[in-house]
């Protein structure tokens, strides 16, 4: 590196002119000239060096970014982790730094490592530096990972989330305790109150890896209470354990052990529901495969998505519920080329079968069947047949008459209850087509408010208790319910609001379809 300070005159090297004594004046003048020239030369050199340095650095970076500069990782140094075990951090990034052979590959690997460590959610910040390796080993580099652990391990959170299981949105609050044992473990306690009067309390733990299992594991204990009295004359209380066994981007495998109790405090239920009241154990393995290549899950304009969920119950004890349940969901989105419009189409289907001898004559449990209806978004939700705009929650399909009220014994009259219990279907199919478009005003476009027009259809059928023999595809297709409508979507910070006007095109006796304006709230995420 060039020295930018000029050499003082009193320290100027002795010039040859000092040996000449005769022409002192001339020599002095010559010395002065030489000094001046020397100083000017040095100044010019000093002015040229920063420029040369910049050029040199630029050429280095150009070479690093374009040419394959070979390098090998000598060591990975982890700093800043006082609580988190080294093994946890190493396990997250170990495979990333073995393969890179060039600087470009190494930089890419470092960014992936950074993202993975931040995803653990136990660090306030993560920085990765590539330092020079030992001098005796040229062409090597040391990767220095410096983490700052969360200063406050306890965090709280309140939000609105959509819950596919409850088929509604819920207000949820949670407390998280991070990294209690240094394994990047996250302990949480949460409570949720749903729009459909459901209440859930749970506590659980999540670890990114455990011993030889490379994928995240979770365990959760929960208590959930749901009120379906208005639709199906029963209340449901679930208490149990859920274990997440495998969780990757596309695959999810979990085991659920639940004690489920159905009660009817009103004593008005139909015979079908009355026979389902009581206690049951659900011991089920659930596998979900999901692939979502849409560009957005709130307003997709291109891409496709597919999900398949398989659930088999009856694993632990012969006296628990035994069934096999399968759901498919296929979506596609394509841009239309005007007004930022896009066409979304979707097809969902699901079926549930009891397991056991003479399974065609056995019954399925009502809470595990399929129900259609409700106001959840057609486009955003991905997880089996559930939503059918224009119809109330659990507002169509197989139903049974509730208890008759005998008010006037003397006259022998009775009031026919106009309420039916919707008991769900063993087979469900839904389909929809939705066109979303920007609204004319710029202020709406800037806020993300857009419009949509949709048409949707769906149907349920009972297959259990011998009904599979009476099933006819032709009749199933003929009895499809359908609706159409238009609406506006407002993506606010707190909710994603859909205001739709729905017109029911086809419904059948006892269905709860209704023309008019409906509101739908879902999570903004």
């Amino acid at each position: 590196m060039a020295n930018s300070d000029p050499i003082p005159r009193d320290q100027a090297p002795p010039s040859d002119s000092e040996e000449t004594n005769g022409a002192d004046e001339i020599s002095e003048e010559g010395e002065e000239e030489e000094d001046t020239e020397y100083e000017e030369f040095e100044e010019e050199e000093e002015e040229l060096d920063p420029v040369r340095e910049r050029e040199r650095l630029k050429s280095i970076f150009r070479r690093l970014s374009t040419d394959p500069v070979h390098v090998r990782v000598h060591d990975v140094v982890i700093k800043g982790n006082t609580k988190t075990k080294d093994a946890i951090i190493e396990a997250e990034i170990s495979d990333l730094f073995k393969k890179p052979r060039t600087v470009q590959e190494l930089v890419a690997a470092a960014s992936i490592a950074n993202a993975r460590l931040k995803q653990l959610d136990v660090f306030d910040s993560v920085s990765i530096t590539l330092d020079a390796g030992p001098a005796e080993l040229p062409g090597t580099t040391n990767v220095v990972i410096e983490v700052v652990e969360a200063s406050n391990p306890l965090t709280g959170n309140v939000g609105v989330f959509s819950k596919p299981e409850a088929r509604s949105w819920s207000l949820e609050g949670s407390l998280k305790l991070k990294n209690l044992f240094g394994h990047a473990d996250i302990w949480d306690t949460s409570g949720a109150f749903g729009w459909d009067q459901s209440l859930e309390i749970g506590t659980g733990v999540w670890v990114p890896r455990f011993k030889s299992v490379p994928t995240p594991l979770s365990a959760r204990a929960f208590l959930l209470s749901q009120d379906w009295l208005k639709f199906s004359s029963y209340k449901e209380r679930l208490m149990g354990l859920n274990f997440g066994l495998l969780s990757t981007n596309n695959h999810d495998l979990s085991y659920n052990l639940t004690w489920r109790t159905l009660t009817d405090p009103t004593r008005m239920s139909s015979p079908s529901i009355r026979r389902q009241l009581g206690h049951n154990v659900l011991s089920a393995l659930k596998y979900c495969y999901k692939i979502d290549r849409r560009d957005s899950h709130l307003r997709p304009k291109s891409g496709y998505a597919f999900s398949s969920t398989s659930q088999v119950s009856g694993l632990w004890d012969l006296r628990g519920l035994k069934f096999f349940r399968q759901e498919f969901d296929l979506r596609a989105a394509m841009p239309l080329g005007f007004w930022n419009a896009a066409l979304n189409v979707g097809l969902s289907a699901g079926a549930i079968f009891p397991l056991g001898r003479n399974f065609t004559k056995l019954s399925t449990s009502v809470p595990d069947r399929f129900f259609l209806g409700g106001h959840s978004s057609l486009v955003c939700s991905l997880g089996g047949p559930s939503s059918l705009l224009g119809f109330q929650t659990r507002g169509l399909g197989p139903n049974d008459m509730r208890r008759v009220l005998n008010l006037n014994k003397d006259e022998g009259s009775s009031v026919q209850s106009d309420c039916h219990d919707f008991v769900g279907g063993d087979l469900a199919v839904t389909a929809f087509a939705d066109v979303s478009f920007d609204l004319p005003l710029k202020i709406f476009r800037d806020a993300g408010i857009h419009g949509h027009a949709f048409v949707c259809a769906g149907n349920l059928a009972k297959l259990s208790e011998g009904e599979i023999r009476n099933f006819s595809t032709e009749r199933f297709l003929k009895t499809f319910r359908s609706s159409a409508g238009v609406g506006v979507i407002l993506p606010t910070k707190f909710f994603r609001v859909e205001v739709n006007y729905c017109h029911v095109l086809k419904q059948f006796e006892n269905d709860h379809g209704k023309n008019g304006i409906q509101f739908s709230f879902s999570s903004p995420l």
Binding site: R267, P271, K361, S363, V415, T492
Partner: protein, 333 residues
Amino acid sequence: MGDSRSSGDRHLFLVARKPRFGLPTACPSCLPVYLYLKLANADFTVEFDSSFPDSDHIPYVEYGESVALNNEKGGVIELLKEEAILDLNAKHTSLAIPDLVSTKAMVSSWLYEAILYELWIAIGGDVAHNIYFSDLPWPIGKILHWKKIYNVKKLLGVTKVNCEERELEIYKKANEAYEALSLKLGDQVFFFDNRPTDVDALFLGHALFVLHALPETSELRSNLLKHDNLVKYAEHLKAELQLDSTPSSTQPSSSSKDASTSSAPRRKPSSGWGAKPNPKPKKEKTEEEKKFRRRAKYFLATQLVAVLVFLSLMGVPGDSEMDDEDAVDYDEE
């Protein structure tokens, strides 16, 4: 044998707990109802429920869209009588009614408490487990069993302090009831006028349960065995009603009773009996009220949407303003 007023053309469904110990249903609450229908020569089918052992609405009897639950209006038998579906007491003279009512009260209270105490507290868990919880997974059955024992102790007023005293009291009353019933029965086939009544159904259910379900070590059983005529009465009627053979029945899970599909025509209600509901029926709303409520809902929803739109359009002061300020400061420097 009995007198059923209008059961000839009506089919009933009795949902009870499962059979065991050679009895058509092993539950001491369900057995009297079963025997009442048998004594009345009613046309009925039994279905068994094994998933709700802690319910108080079982046993229940269904006819059409109506149902008589055990936790309403004094029980299933009282409801069947009240609605004139099956009334074994109908042809008894008014002179026998006071005696009948007092005998029934004694059987329904003293002997019922004795059964509760013997089954849930005195003899241990095996009998109760076999009747109520054997079809449920073990942890659930155990928890429900403990819960039931706690509730029975609370109902009978049994505590650690007074359990012996309370036991003596319960057995004393049971013995008095046996003696009174033994004297009342004598050599007759039935308790009143040689015709079956609901008292016969209630006591027969009690006696058969005590004789066949309770173990030989049971004190209640020992006390009943002292009254030969009561034992002969029970065994005689058991044979007469052919209770030894397993009743034709179906499990609720494979019941052939179907739920209506959505395209089926609506079933017409049967004229006849039905229970008055506990919850009051909804008041008919006038058209004006409905309209007002609908408009109010729309108004509130519109206000909410307007607020949300306002919030999203106005937004929060963003970083761009901060950056502009910084830029100005930098330029000034």
